[in-house]
Amino acid sequence: MKFIIAIIKPFKLDEVREALGSIGVAGMTVSEVKGFGRQKGQTEIYRGAEYSTNMLPKVKLEIAASDEIAAQVVETIEQTANTEAIGDGKIFVLELASATRIRTGESGETAL
């Protein structure tokens, strides 16, 4: 199994979620994060003093997926979240050693 972490632009969230739903991803966990990367925030002026807001709002998705569909998940995110503009985000894939569904105690792929 794989644990997929994707950082995307916030306004793409709904679209990505729907696209993932349509390829059979049943669950995911979402959080608001700030991203720091090549996409630079503007230098803002607040009360006459400059500051750089190089932390940009992003959304993080965490998706546990079986090995079979993991590649498809990555591809779907890549396609849906892509705006061809800098700052579109990244997808990281880690190995997932085990998964358990709390309600039933099931583990492994059926727990996803």
């Binding site: 803002e44 002026i45 607040y46 009360r47 006459g48 003093a49 400059e50 500051y51």
Partner: protein, 445 residues
């Protein structure tokens, strides 16, 4: 100008309104019976008083919106506490110091320390004064509280609660009342220099501003605020709508602050003047807002909302020393220059590494000085206001308030200490001094 001084009232405005109906010259359409005038004068103090009391909430919201979230609960506590202390101290000794009834031949510098102020008895009216003394006391008291509110914004986020409250006690019980005694109490500035400060650009706002400035210097800046090579680290406010709300509250309260400083509405002339004050006050604030928006847009290509808020307040402070005499156009200009002062001096203070969290020094001190000096030009020609007289008032206030504030802040610094430990400051005063976060996370849990 003396102001609502009980002891002088028989000779002053109270007398005027009582005497009026007897004056053969008053046209029929303007006659107001003395009992009615008494009620209306009192009502002006009451309405003005509750509007200025409401400004305490305005300061609380403005400051709560501009400090970092980790210090927000503390800022709320400081604001409700200072308003309470100001009321108590003004009763314990403040009012009697402010209105000492200087002897005829006195220089009018040192007033009386005669202790607690006693209201008159229930059911009794004060027909000699032409208004209820309790209503006057209430109105004066909320001005005292305003002075303290100004300080809390500047020195936010790095002063412990207890020393802050001790400073407020000294400010409202002694420092502010002495300034008032010189002018509204009929003392030195009023009698010797013809100084004019209608509603307190100097007496209230600059006094608060000097106390804040001296405090900011003695206490130092917030940890990490100024980097090594002149770098200013920005700590953005955490709740802009609250800061906006606070500004609107202050704007509303200012109709009471300036309007009721007419001190009477028992004659058709007085109430007409109150009306003009409302208009001028509003328009000066509007001028300040528009100027701040245009300037930040031009200078920085963005409109800084916090500067617009400060601009409104600077406009209000600027017109406070003379909100009646100027034409509407002049009022707009006076306020607009106030707004410009803010836009230019906020970064200036940062250059000097004077850390003013909410911009109270530009708003209340710099715009207050501007507003006071310009009275020399906007006042009625026959009012006898001179630039030198105004300057003396500004300077005397500067000297006394700075010196007295420095003594108190330094005494606190070298005894119980003013600042929290660096660790407490980094973790936030809410954690160190209150124990309650303003906006706890996991609040949905």
């Amino acid at each position: 100008m003396t102001r609502s001084v009980l002891k002088f009232a028989v000779l002053g405005l109270g007398a005027a309104s009582i005497a009026q109906p007897a004056m053969a010259a008053v046209p029929a359409a303007e006659v107001v019976a003395p009992g009615t005038a008494y009620i209306l004068n009192t009502l002006l103090f009451l309405i003005g008083g509750f509007l200025v009391m409401w400004m305490a909430a305005g300061f609380a919201m403005l400051e709560a919106g501009l400090v970092r979230a980790k210090n927000t609960s503390t800022q709320c506590l400081k604001n409700i506490g200072l308003y309470s202390i100001a009321g108590l101290m003004f009763w314990v000794c403040g009012y009697n110091i402010a209105y000492p009834g200087f002897a005829e031949d006195s220089l009018g510098l040192i007033g009386g320390f005669t202790g607690i102020y006693s209201m008159q008895d229930v059911g009794t009216a004060d027909t000699e004064t032409g208004y209820s003394v309790a209503s006057d006391w209430f109105f004066q008291m909320v001005f005292c509280a305003t002075t303290a509110s100004i300080v809390s914004g500047t020195v936010a986020e790095r002063v412990k609660i207890v020393p802050f409250f001790i400073f407020v006690t000294a400010l409202t019980g002694l420092i502010y009342p002495v300034v008032v005694s010189w002018e509204w109490g009929g003392g030195y500035l009023d009698s010797v220099h013809g100084f004019s400060d209608f509603a307190g650009s100097t007496l209230v706002h600059s006094t608060g501003g000097w106390a804040a400035l001296v405090g900011a210097i003695i206490i130092g800046s917030r940890a990490g605020r100024y980097g090594p090579d002149g770098k200013v680290n920005v700590f953005p406010g955490t709740n802009i709508p609250l800061a906006t709300l606070g500004t609107f509250i202050l704007w509303l309260g200012w109709f009471g602050f300036n309007g009721a400083s007419q001190l009477a509405m028992g004659t058709v002339g007085d109430v007409s003047d109150v009306s003009k004050i409302f208009v001028n006050t509003n328009m000066a604030a509007a001028g300040g807002v528009v100027t701040a928006i245009i300037l930040t847009q031009l200078l920085y290509k963005k409109a800084d909302v916090t500067m617009a808020l400060n601009g409104a307040l600077a406009g209000l402070v600027s017109i406070t020393a003379e909100p009646l005499a100027p034409s509407v156009g002049e009022s707009i200009v006076v306020g607009a220059i106030g707004g410009a002062i803010v836009v230019f001096t906020v970064p200036l203070l940062d250059k000097l590494k004077i850390d003013d969290v909410v911009g109270a020094i530009p708003v209340h001190l710099f715009a207050g000085i501007w507003g006071t000096l310009v009275v020399a030009f906007t006042a009625a020609p026959d009012a006898g206001v001179t630039f030198m007289g105004q300057l003396v008032g500004v300077l005397l206030t500067a000297v006394w308030v700075s010196a007295a504030s420095a003594v108190v802040w330094l005494a606190l610094k070298y005894t119980i200490g003013v600042r929290p430990s660096e660790e407490d400051e980094v973790n936030g005063l809410d954690k160190a001094e209150i124990g309650v976060e303003a906006y706890p996370e996991f609040a949905r849990t």
